[in-house]
């Protein structure tokens, strides 16, 4: 076996589980340390470099980082990464002086962005400082896309969104509000050098069952209904409401319904709870507001009497799983749940009736554009796609990641370079040793449990649709939560020629990560020699070059390393060192490699 190549940025990047899981690779441990030091503005700016909307995402992100968090493998609950992001956003000072600025002298390239959602705004954010002239087409009168019209303001106050969209637009984007694009050809005819389609997946799915169209005034499509609530076209709803579907849109619908006068709100799901698409915390928040969640009910028909919706009939299902994991259901009985209104929140589709089929953009059999997964380029080299418009509904943080990637492509394309020749990822590794037993980070382990978000009292919440439910963490909670972070970006870096095989690191490691053993021919063989055999094979094992005295190898299972630095403290020769890993992500414009690393 060859020794692990830690000069490849991917190895240490993968050790930083949260950053690896985040589509935009936000440098989570570094921004948490900045919060711990009270440097909120710097924390915000570090966040913004990757995810562009820290205030929005600190309230609404799907948090792929949290299930990945190493802390969750050690004491069950991950660090509250998402809500710490909000802390940085809430407590920041005026950061506008530190934002990138667009140069006076433009580079002569004009880019059109369709839709002013997170994907397009990210592209604008990356291209404006490079001198591109950016025009954004938005059908509504305000920017934000689904962040504005589909996320209720009790979860995301408008001010937060206005600020973060403003940072980008104020760099000098030309905004065409109220400009519903009905023809891509017309946009291309304006002579843009490239067009980015970030128009989302705006078409809510319908449910074709008997009775669906018998009382259309009382059956709503989820995302359209949320938009209507946002624009105050809808200000009330009937007392008994059924929501069909159990994703995050369904959670927003049921909680909005509670605020518009509904008293009896039920969310009805086809499958059992573990198959729900909604994030667990959104389910918890809905249940806290006394929304009833009903499992294993498949919609059968809407019961309409004398032209008025009076209930919905369901097949009550029992699910079985065979050995291969395939699910089958049997109908136990039929049940009618009385209701006055139904909201369908069963998914969204893309719709591109406004893209002419003769523009050289290839569409597949599902009428979706064929888009390269890395470059975001369509078969018309001038036209790029990102966000939900590219491959269907995902979430905001994915849209941001798409925006960054597409901006690189558009930049390469406009400069006449090959969009497939993308700048590589880089890294900085910097020892954090200050002196004997002194590190440039807090390596102590805090055994505290995850802090619980404070919520507005139930009685106050329903007075106004705009009352924000989550109050943010208190100062004490912030202090505790930041210290739960294990600093996974402070890497245990091993230098085999220095090792004298004294075993000190192995003896002191609190989580039995280390082993010195004979070299083995394969990783599977090596894994059988670990001090504690790994169950979690998703985590890599590191193995060194042959050690000088016995030719054995140092092996480290990364799975539950606390990054406490004790191996390095007990190492007499500094063969182990703690080194700050800083991922250098490629960005549109410059190669990223000469940037200053993030501060510890």
């Amino acid at each position: 076996m060859d020794p692990t190549d830690v000069s490849d940025p991917r190895y240490y990047h993968k050790v930083v589980d949260c950053q690896w899981a985040c589509p935009a690779h936000t440098n989570v441990p570094a921004y948490i340390r900045l919060i711990a030091q009270g440097r909120y503005s710097e924390s915000y700016l570090l966040n913004r470099a990757s995810n562009v909307f820290p205030g929005v995402l600190g309230r609404t992100c799907d948090r792929p980082c949290e299930p990945a968090c190493r802390r969750g493998r050690i004491d069950e609950k991950p660090v509250a990464i998402c809500r710490l992001k909000r802390v940085a956003a809430d407590l920041r000072d005026d950061i506008e002086p530190f934002l990138p600025k667009a140069p006076e002298q433009k580079n002569g390239k004009r880019i059109a962005l369709i839709g002013a959602g997170p994907a397009s705004l990210t592209v604008a954010n990356d291209l404006l400082p490079l001198g591109y002239e950016v025009t954004i087409f938005e059908k509504n009168q305000k920017p934000g896309g689904l962040m504005r019209i589909n996320i209720p303001s009790f979860r995301l106050p408008a001010k937060v969104l206005d600020d973060e969209c403003g940072y980008i637009i104020n760099m000098g984007a030309e905004m065409r509000y109220g400009a519903t694009v009905t023809s891509l050809a017309a946009v291309l005819d304006e002579g843009f050098d490239a067009v980015f389609v970030g128009s989302g997946a705006p078409k809510g799915k319908d449910l074709d069952i008997p009775g669906r169209h018998d009382d259309p005034a009382h059956v709503h499509i989820g995302i359209d209904w949320l938009a209507n609530v946002h624009f105050e076209h809808i200000t009330k709803i009937e007392p008994r409401v059924i929501i069909i579907g159990v994703g995050n849109t369904a959670m927003d619908c049921c909680r909005s319904a509670k605020r518009l006068g509904a008293t009896d709100v039920k969310v009805v799901a086809r499958r059992g709870r573990r198959h729900f698409k909604a994030s667990p915390w959104e389910l918890e928040d809905a249940e806290e507001e006394l929304v009833e969640i009903i499992e294993n009910h498949a919609p059968k028909r809407m019961v309409v009497e004398n032209g008025t919706l009076v209930g919905m009939e369901f097949d009550v299902l029992e699910w079985r799983e065979d050995a291969s994991g395939k699910q089958t259901s049997t109908v136990l009985r039929t049940e009618t749940i009385p209701c006055d209104a139904v909201i369908l929140a069963i998914g969204q589709d893309n719709a591109f009736p406004w893209i002419e089929r003769d523009l050289g953009i290839e569409f597949n059999k599902w009428e979706m554009p064929v888009v390269d997964s890395e470059t975001h380029q369509s078969s018309n080299p001038k036209v790029f796609f990102g966000g939900d418009a590219a491959w269907g509904p995902k979430n905001i943080i994915w849209a941001v990641a798409h925006g960054h990637a597409a901006a690189i492509s558009i930049d390469l394309f406009c400069q006449g370079e090959d969009v497939t020749k993308r700048p590589p990822e880089g890294m900085n590794l910097l020892s954090v040793k200050n002196g004997l037993h002194s590190w440039a980070y807090d390596n102590g382990f805090d055994a505290s449990g995850r802090q619980v978000m404070r919520h507005e009292e139930l009685t106050k919440r329903f007075r106004d649709l705009k009352v924000e439910v989550e109050l943010g963490f208190s100062a004490e909670q912030v202090a505790t939560e930041v210290s739960r972070c294990l600093n996974c970006d402070i890497q245990t870096h091993f230098n085999a020629p220095k090792c004298i095989e004294c075993d000190a690191c192995i003896d002191v490691c609190p989580t039995a990560c280390l082993t010195i053993t004979k070299a083995q021919p394969s990783e599977s063989e090596l894994r059988t020699h670990l001090t504690v055999p790994a169950v979690n094979l998703d985590q890599d094992i590191y193995h060194s070059a042959a050690l000088p005295q016995t030719e054995r190898v140092m092996v480290k299972d990364e799975d539950v390393c606390l990054h406490c630095g004790l191996c390095a403290e007990r190492c007499p020769t500094a063969a182990w060192d703690m080194q700050l890993f800083d991922l250098l992500q490629p960005k549109a414009g410059a190669t990223c490699h000469d940037e200053v690393p993030a501060t510890v």
Binding site: A447, E501, A504, T511, V532, Q549, T550
Partner: protein, 377 residues
């Protein structure tokens, strides 16, 4: 020293022993020794051995004197009894503890200064007396606490950090022990837990004094070029004379569950053919010897040197001194004699811990005194 206490969390899948305890439960306080000190590895080996033997922590007593080595009793078995005695006087205090309570596993930790200089007489007499205890000498050839002068175990020709050469002959604790009647003598290396852990397990189970000389390099004052007690020198000159494997008296199935890779599990069944009638055997056409210990466990000894017999005191002495002349360090469980009598047998000590004796037992009355007195008239 470290800047932080060892985090309380452990690996979530750490195994438990027969008492339901993990390895972490056998640890002690955080070491304040130099980073890379061999003594910390000996500590870890003791933690491993006592965990594998499933010793109840409150049934162990840790005894020590003065020196770097003697600090280490604070770093394992935090729930056990302990006594830090006067320099070189640990054997006396340990003898007292062993005499007072036979049910304790007495673990004495000493160093080459504590045992071979100031405490040499104490050590010799504890061996003669065959006190029922484990006696580990953490041997690094220098006085670490006073900044690295030669100790009594320094080899002729060994160099100090600043170049001084030792010209006096060393006291080899293994040869000394054999010459004063030791019944269990081993030598090992702090950097080789695969060898050390089974020897410690057998030593704890031995009835009588079990002496283990552990080469435990002083990383600060005696780990340089020219030292004969450095990690490198020891690795280059270590010759294993006997491989030892301790097999506890347990259901074989439990053994498999308990031993976390020390090697005993794999050999648990093979040894059964030889064990059983309490004496050493020489297996035909093999260098394997199986010695049954008083606690019922067995120790399997496989000589790796042709003709070496770890149950023959004279040949053991001869072999070890021959190795020494060649500049080699003979390691392994070098000698064991389970037929000898321990201090308890010789002194006919009570099997009841003194603390549990009643007033009537201690003061049997005038009639008993008179009976005793008649013996001396």
């Amino acid at each position: 020293m470290t800047s932080i206490a060892k985090p309380v969390v452990a690996h979530p899948r750490l195994k438990t022993n027969a008492l339901g305890l993990t390895l972490r439960d056998y640890e002690g306080g955080m070491s304040t020794l130099c980073a890379g000190c061999g003594h910390d590895s000996v500590t870890a080996a003791i933690v491993q051995a006592t965990w594998e033997l499933a010793i109840e922590p409150h049934r162990a007593a840790k005894m020590s004197g003065i020196g770097c080595s003697s600090k280490t009793t604070a770093y394992f078995l935090k729930q056990s009894h302990g006594f830090n005695s006067v320099h070189g006087r640990m054997p006396s205090v340990a003898s007292g503890a062993a005499a007072a309570n036979r049910s304790l596993s007495v673990i004495g930790i000493s160093g080459d200064g504590d045992s071979l200089s100031i405490g040499l007489g104490q050590l010799s007499h504890a061996i003669r007396r065959n006190v029922n205890m484990l006696y580990i000498i953490e041997n690094n050839g220098v006085y670490g606490l006073t900044k690295g002068q030669f100790s009594a175990s320094a080899d002729i020709g060994s160099k100090l950090k600043k170049g001084e050469v030792n010209e006096q002959p060393p006291i080899d604790p293994v040869l000394l022990a054999l010459s004063v009647g030791a019944t269990f003598v081993g030598r090992s290396f702090s950097g080789d837990k695969q060898q050390l852990v089974p020897i410690i397990k057998a030593a704890i189970s031995h009835r009588g004094l079990a002496l283990i000389d552990v080469i435990s390099p002083c990383v600060t004052f005696n780990n340089h070029e020219g030292s004969t007690k450095s990690y490198k020198y020891t690795r280059d000159h270590d010759v294993e004379a006997v491989e030892a494997d301790y097999i506890p008296v347990c259901e074989p199935i439990e053994i498999t569950g308990l031993t976390g890779g020390s090697g005993a599990a794999g050999n648990g069944h093979a040894g059964n053919g030889h064990a059983g009638n309490g004496q050493a055997h020489t297996a035909e056409a093999s260098s394997l010897r199986v010695v049954q210990l008083h606690d019922g466990g067995t120790v399997r000894l496989r000589s790796t040197e042709p003709g070496y017999d770890p149950t023959d005191r004279a040949s053991a002495y001869q072999h070890i001194s021959a190795c020494q002349r060649r500049g080699e360090i003979a390691t392994g469980l070098l000698f064991v004699d389970e037929s000898s009598r321990s201090m308890h047998d010789v002194l006919k000590t009570t099997s009841t811990p003194l603390v549990d004796l009643t007033h009537d037992d201690l003061c049997p009355g005038t009639a008993a005194l008179d009976k005793l007195m008649t013996r001396f008239r």
